[in-house]
């Protein structure tokens, strides 16, 4: 078939299944200004920045106009420039302009476009409202006065995540993004996944910070600061720290953190290996006892909260395994509190996570230790870690990589891939598959658990048992799958759920990324797995050591959790 073309700024650009002109414009090498267009969300068409002009002088919103063969549009003209400047000016007239103290300052889309289109003057009276902050959530912080009503968060929360904590409220110039009756976000169905903040183009929704608390612990000579770093973090820091995207940065992170004053730095991958060991055992148990099925994974705290809110009936189906962070956190506190060298000192356990929901998980009462203290004392998101590295002035690009602290230094490839959707399942399969050869590993990798799709369904044969498995990322996808299961349309033995689409590599604690960069992060983790000698969690010598030396008979109580089921 003849290829069809559209003229973008007089250059012929082939139409290859693009749904809208905007995608074509991007293909033509033009960075189209837009606030409300994300390829991962439904087309909303509200900011009107992406207008293009056809040769008859008609205006089209590129995001919502399908490409038409032979059509010719320009992306830059006197009129378009005027309209874009007007729209930006109208937005700025209502917006807080305290960029120096805004934490989104460096990545604010509004600021970026205002500079790009050179808005020198705002001719309208300043309609900026007083900051209206909602600090109720430990995961995210909302400032309504910085909202430009692009609706990205609303679509994310409702369409992608099916959480529905926020909606548009009111109408017209009085419209806001809000909760029912404007109750604090913490009192809603919010699961803390933070994806709203990940798509917010301004500083209206940002991640809650634990940076100050962490520095204070570091500065305190009587406190031993122990950190663990989640698998996805190493794949997310590079770009912001001046490295090529996709560089595996674990070693540099360990080095930088030591320079900053963290006393011990560990890899949550070790925790993931514990989880695999426990979860695989639980799964085999359930296979023996015939259920309950499906068994849902339990690593993702936003998923746990979602299930508590919307599907309390499923709580018995969720694995009782603590998340890798919590398992490892238990081990860390247990170890250092019984260690002579640190006796009498306060142990401050920090987890560096790609995730905002972990901040909520950390304060859950179920994870209080017998003495009433928390297992994890502070959660630092990848973004916060980057901020701290900047603050410390460390030249990340030129720092030499170091290894993690001892003991618990060993890691496995299975633990690393936890950071991407399908990784937990793959790690568990490596464990339950009795064939420990390389070809078995290959077979597992090819079984359909890999890939960034939102829903993956597959089967895997173990002995005479055919395991039915589903892997979902994104809570909206999870909801669809749950309906299928509950209606009897589908049956699975194991369902892996990650709240963030594509898994932890795309967690809301990570720096902003577009689809392509998220795919690179995933690749990055699989490469690490390839380069790791130990592929299976149970082969990690640190695991045996932990069970034997440090937790012993307490293993079950330290590594498992029973969430208190609320009545719906």
């Amino acid at each position: 078939m003849m290829k069809e073309y559209m003229l973008i700024d007089k250059i012929p650009v082939p139409i290859e299944g693009e749904k809208n002109i905007l995608a074509l414009v991007q293909k033509a090498g033009i960075d189209m200004p837009t606030f409300c267009y994300y390829s991962e969300l439904s087309v909303y068409g509200a900011c009107r920045m992406c207008m293009v002009e056809d040769d008859r002088g008609n205006m089209h919103a590129a995001c919502s106009t399908p490409p038409k063969a032979g059509m010719s549009v320009v992306t830059n003209s006197a009129r378009l420039r005027k309209y874009r400047k007007n729209i930006l000016e109208l937005l700025l007239a209502n917006h807080c302009r305290d960029c120096t103290t805004c934490e989104k300052s460096e990545s604010c889309r509004l600021k970026e476009l205002a500079r790009r289109f050179y808005i020198e003057d705002v001719r309208f009276p300043n309609g900026k409202t007083e900051p209206e902050r909602d600090e109720s959530s430990v995961c995210i912080s909302i400032d309504h006065s910085k909202c430009i009503l692009c609706g990205d968060c609303v679509r994310m929360c409702n369409e992608v995540q099916n959480v529905g904590a926020i909606s548009f409220v009111g109408r017209g110039s009085k419209m806001e993004v809000g909760t029912a009756f404007k109750v604090p976000i913490a009192n809603t169905q919010c699961v803390g996944c933070g994806q709203c903040s990940a798509v917010c183009p301004t500083g209206a929704i940002v991640v809650q910070k634990n940076v100050t608390r962490t520095w204070e612990a570091i500065y305190d000579p009587n406190t031993v600061v122990v950190a663990q770093i989640a698998p996805a973090v190493r794949a997310g820091v590079a770009k912001e720290l001046g490295e090529e995207n996709g560089v595996i940065a674990a070693g540099k992170i360990f080095a930088a953190m030591r320079r900053m004053g963290f006393n011990h730095v560990y890899d949550t991958t070790t925790g993931a290996d514990l989880t695999v060991t426990e979860e695989a055992a639980e799964f085999l148990e359930r296979l023996k006892d015939d259920g309950p099925f499906p068994m849902f994974t339990s690593c993702c705290p936003a998923w746990i909260r979602y299930a508590e809110n919307k599907h309390p009936e499923l709580m018995p189906n969720i694995s009782t395994c603590r998340s890798p962070m919590q398992m490892f956190g238990s081990v860390i506190k247990e170890y250092f509190e019984h260690n002579e060298k640190t006796a009498g000192k306060r142990i401050f356990s920090v987890a560096v996570m790609p995730c905002t929901a972990k901040k909520y998980e950390a304060i859950r009462p179920e994870f209080k230790r017998p003495d009433g203290t928390d297992t994890i004392d502070a959660i630092i998101t990848t973004q916060e870690l980057i901020q701290m590295i900047h603050e410390a002035g460390i030249d990340f690009k030129n720092i030499s990589p170091e290894s993690s602290s001892m003991p618990f230094g060993g890691t496995s490839g299975a633990g690393v891939i936890f950071g991407v959707t399908g990784g937990v399942t793959e790690a568990v399969l490596r464990n339950v598959e009795p064939d420990k050869t390389y070809s078995a590993l290959q077979q597992i990798a090819m079984s359909g658990v890999r890939g960034l799709e939102g829903v993956k369904e597959t089967t895997y044969q173990v002995g005479d048992q055919e395991l039915k498995i589903a892997v979902v990322s994104g809570l909206g996808n999870a909801e669809k799958l749950i309906r299928k299961v509950q209606s009897g349309e589908a049956f699975y033995h194991l369902i892996e759920v990650m709240a963030c689409p594509r898994g932890c590599i795309a967690g809301a604690g990570q720096p902003f990324a577009r689809s392509r960069e998220k795919a690179e992060r995933a690749k990055n983790l699989y490469t690490t797995d390839n380069m790791t000698q130990i592929k299976r969690s149970e082969s990690n010598p640190a695991i045996d050591e932990i069970y034997a030396k440090y937790i012993g008979r307490k293993a079950h109580s330290l590594l498992h959790v029973h969430y208190k089921v609320k009545k719906k």
Binding site: N158, V163, G164, A165, I166, S167, F168, V169, G170, R171, G178, T179, A180, F181, T188, Q189, K568
Partner: protein, 158 residues
Amino acid sequence: MNVKELYQKTDGWLDSFGREERSLIAVLQAIQEEYSYLPREVFPYLAKEMNLNEAQIYGVATFYENFSLEAKGKYVIKVCDGTACHVRKSVPILNKLRQELKLDDGRKTTDDQLFTVETVSCLGACGLAPALTVNGEVHAAMTPEKAVALLAELRREA
């Protein structure tokens, strides 16, 4: 607020209109007609029964002008400010009513819960301009004086 009764009545409307999302506006209208506003207690109940999110229902309730989240007065006076009424001087009528009842754009209901004064963009009774309605009943060719007389009459009636 008798919550049990509210839920019972709401169940009745849900039964007749259906529990799908498409029935939401009709159900809210029924509640509003019965109570003259949407009691807060009904939101979580509807969310549960209709399998919707509370924020979404709140979003719908605050989008449409006819829904009120606060109790209204016994007499709801809507002064038409459509074009026809506007050019025939409806604003002085509104101002007079507000002045008499000590109300303004933000305060729409009197303390004694007797009167609520609102504007409506067009009653479609343009031939009778300027017009207003009291609890839905149209009063034609109003003047500020007639409006004051109407208030007195309503007070006597109450």
